[in-house]
Symmetry: C2
Subunit: 479 residues, 2 copies
């Protein structure tokens, strides 16, 4: 423990994932003495069991596929992926699940660390159950920020919990690739894990109830599903009635009385996540652990004295690492500003440094499948439901010279959702190979509220895939 004197800091942060680290960092830069409490690895879910390992696992197959699509280079690729090397690459990106580097970073950033499980026991007071069995009491002069993230939700299927299902944690930590997996769920985690496991040679069955990747524009989700099916992934629309792990170790998934059960080596649950608030003691300070509501500075509604913040996945606003870090910047700056009395407790100006305004209708997300989906802002359906006077402009990405050069027979599409009244783009969705890096242009256009008639002067370099911007603006002009 690095601090001296009493166990009092200006700010106590619960959870040392990317979000907690950023709250602590921004508050510390703002002059506050900050401590972070973590029971597991410093660095959190994203570093060890989510974004980093999954993206490290996805990239080799994507790179190999990209070169196979370029005449003149494709013949150079004669081999398969080296599965052991892919897994080793993944292990490198997780630092072999060792948090020494992240601990060093905390130290260099001037943030104290207390290892153990934190529980709020009163206003600005946290008890930490430490590994040695002792409890250490921490007090904060200004604020406590809950940054404990989220945990996978296990659906209420008979036998599932006892069948030792994998969550995204186990699924991204494998040391051997099972021969077959069933993935429960049809969201982003299911889509990325299906892509990974299929690319590593497993038989993959996705069991889902509704539409695949239903949060996204249909044209994008449909292409990803078709591509997965083409690669050999099976899709089954069903609600399992029971799951059991048999004596031989295999998992039997019963879908109904007259349906053959699905038998696989492992079952992966990817049916959503919920706030990780169990045991935090929120009830004791008058806050519902299942309904954490925050304002745009991430301050929890209902806590007496305005000292409690909830940042990142735990508040349920937008379950993405990047958006959690964004909230963390706003919260860290707001906590420091309120401690310095330069920010009123009840006010956060939209688009100010202290407000995560973009959470509401400006959230970017990428699905690292093949093809990739990248989207920001409102889908056409969401814009419609919001009552905006919209025009939807679609364009075939493959018809853009930059895409054709990148990949023979490039297949992709882009949709822009335009608010006709304000003459602004309010949503954009891309689907295709390598579209993940196209997204930020859309994010800047939407968040920056750059009018269409000014976007007209933002010339895309030729021949890049970004020339699709010109095509969309031309289509809008001559619609």
């Amino acid at each position: 423990m690095n601090h001296s004197g009493s166990d009092t800091w200006d700010l106590i942060v619960l959870g040392a994932g990317a979000v907690g680290e950023n709250v602590a960092d921004y508050a510390t830069k703002g002059g506050l003495r900050t401590v972070i409490v973590e029971a597991q690895l410093v660095g959190g879910e994203c570093s060890y069991w989510a974004c980093m390992p999954s993206k490290a696992l996805l990239r080799p197959a994507a790179a190999r596929l990209a070169v196979q699509r370029v005449a003149g280079a494709s013949a150079a690729v004669t081999g398969d992926l080296d599965v052991a090397a892919v897994l080793e690459r993944r292990t490198g990106f997780t630092s072999a699940w060792d948090d020494a580097n992240q601990v060093s970073w905390l130290d260099s950033a001037g943030i104290d660390l207390v290892r153990g499980r934190g529980r709020i026991v009163g206003e600005r007071t946290v008890d930490v159950a430490q590994a040695d069995g002792t409890v250490r009491r921490l007090t904060a002069t200004h604020a406590v920020a809950v940054c404990t993230g989220s945990v996978p939700t296990l659906p209420p299927i008979e036998g599932l919990a006892d069948a030792k299902p994998w969550t995204s944690r186990e699924a991204t930590s494998i040391t051997d690739v099972p021969g077959s997996v069933a993935i429960l769920g049809g969201g982003v985690v299911a889509a990325e894990l299906a892509t990974i496991y299929r690319s590593l040679g497993a038989e993959v069955t996705v069991i889902l109830r509704g539409r695949f990747l239903s949060r996204f524009e249909d044209f994008a989700s449909d292409r990803v599903r078709a591509s997965l099916e083409e690669s050999g992934v099976h899709f089954v629309t069903a609600s399992p009635s029971s799951v059991t792990r048999a004596q031989d170790g295999r998992v039997h998934i019963t879908l109904g009385h007259n349906v053959e059960p699905i038998i696989v080596d492992e079952i992966i649950v990817a049916t959503g996540r919920h706030s990780a608030t169990t045991g935090l003691g929120l009830e004791d300070v008058g806050v519902s652990p299942t309904d954490l509501r925050v304002d745009d500075s991430m301050r929890v509604a209902g806590a007496h004295g305005d000292w409690l913040y909830a940042v990142g996945d735990v508040n349920g606003r937008a379950l993405y690492t990047h958006q959690g870090k964004y909230q963390a910047r706003a919260a860290g700056l707001a906590i420091a500003a309120r401690a310095a009395s330069t920010l009123p407790s009840d006010l956060t100006e939209p688009w100010s440094d202290h407000a995560a305004t973009a959470d509401h209708a400006h959230v970017p997300s990428v699905v690292f499948t093949e093809p990739e989906i990248a989207t920001v802002g409102l889908t056409s359906e969401e814009a419609d439901q919001a009552g905006l006077p919209i025009r939807v402009i679609d364009h075939d990405l493959g018809s853009v010279a930059g895409a054709a050069v990148r990949s023979d027979g490039y297949a992709g599409a882009v949709r822009a959702v335009i608010d006709l009244e304000r003459q602004l783009i309010v949503g954009m969705t891309f689907v295709g190979q390598d579209v993940s890096e196209l997204l930020h242009a859309a994010t800047i256009a939407i968040v920056g509220e750059v009018p269409l008639d000014r976007l007209w002067h933002a010339v895309p370099a030729y021949p890049t895939m970004n020339e699709v911007w010109l095509r969309l603006l031309e289509a809008e002009r001559y619609a």
Copy 2:
């Protein structure tokens, strides 16, 4: 010839490259009857002898290199590029130098075509020397737009012209790869051709006088040069005194009295380009063919009656296909608006549809080398010279998680040039693998004049390379 009646149109366009096609298209959509005059292939330099073939030739090596940098996938690449297939891919992208598709497009766009060499013989009057030896006179009711592009400049080196040097045309049209080439010049064309020829197995020597890629930020140019050198390209800083093609067909390049001559199979001249105005008759209407000055609607200064426009490379404003097309949109819309008397002849409002305002300080460009350079707006040197109160923010692109995931040991860098007074980014330069598609976000931020405090809310998706935006903004905040 598709038109009926007399040889009179509203607009005559000289040159059917991408720029001429766009002027004609926008004017036609604006209600004007338009004819385009072309002596060579409809589609122009970019389609057949520049952007398209060069990018088609560059992509296979880039794709192969990308996969070689990803552990788990690299072992799958055992072979070299298939040079014949690379050349065939190139030929596909040039439609085997057949313009039938482009002619069909003109037809579908309602644009008439007259094949032959056009010469301005008076106000709104063009004589076309046709292949059959006849001359056809065309007259325009409103305007003539010169879109004849540019041609390579041959430096005044003794013997060079007689040594049958290649220009970018011959260099991108090869059917066999020479064993060795010397490239005269150190600009973008030289850099891309050196990359292509080296990747196809040729010995490459770049002979340049000044700094390599001198228009770009040093940190970017230096990386490209180092990478080319590492791949085996030789750089020689010298001014050849003479060039001769010997009896055996090889080219001898003499650099000075006491220096061994360079002997190569072919010499490629890439020492710049100048306006293609020879024989256009500009002198006859009082316009200097070597000093074509235009306003922001591309109207030529000095032509009596304001009927003459010069669009694209020919006006020397910004020699890029994308920027020429941008000018073409402004010019086509301006010509149509002036014909309809809805736009004053002497006025083009900045950032309006009729002004190519972005030409001045908002031009994007990409160098498709390995690594790529992508830049938009002002370099730090240009901003300094313009007297702006700037801060330069640099960031290592390889330290961004999205880059590390993309490529093991990713090497790259980004610079943002910030106008401290206006709190805007005025220039950005990226260097690294696959940065070409990162550029448009910068172009939108700069052209859209999105203030730094709003860019703060444009969240880059994690983990993408675009997260470098966050790092730059954090560095700026805590500089």
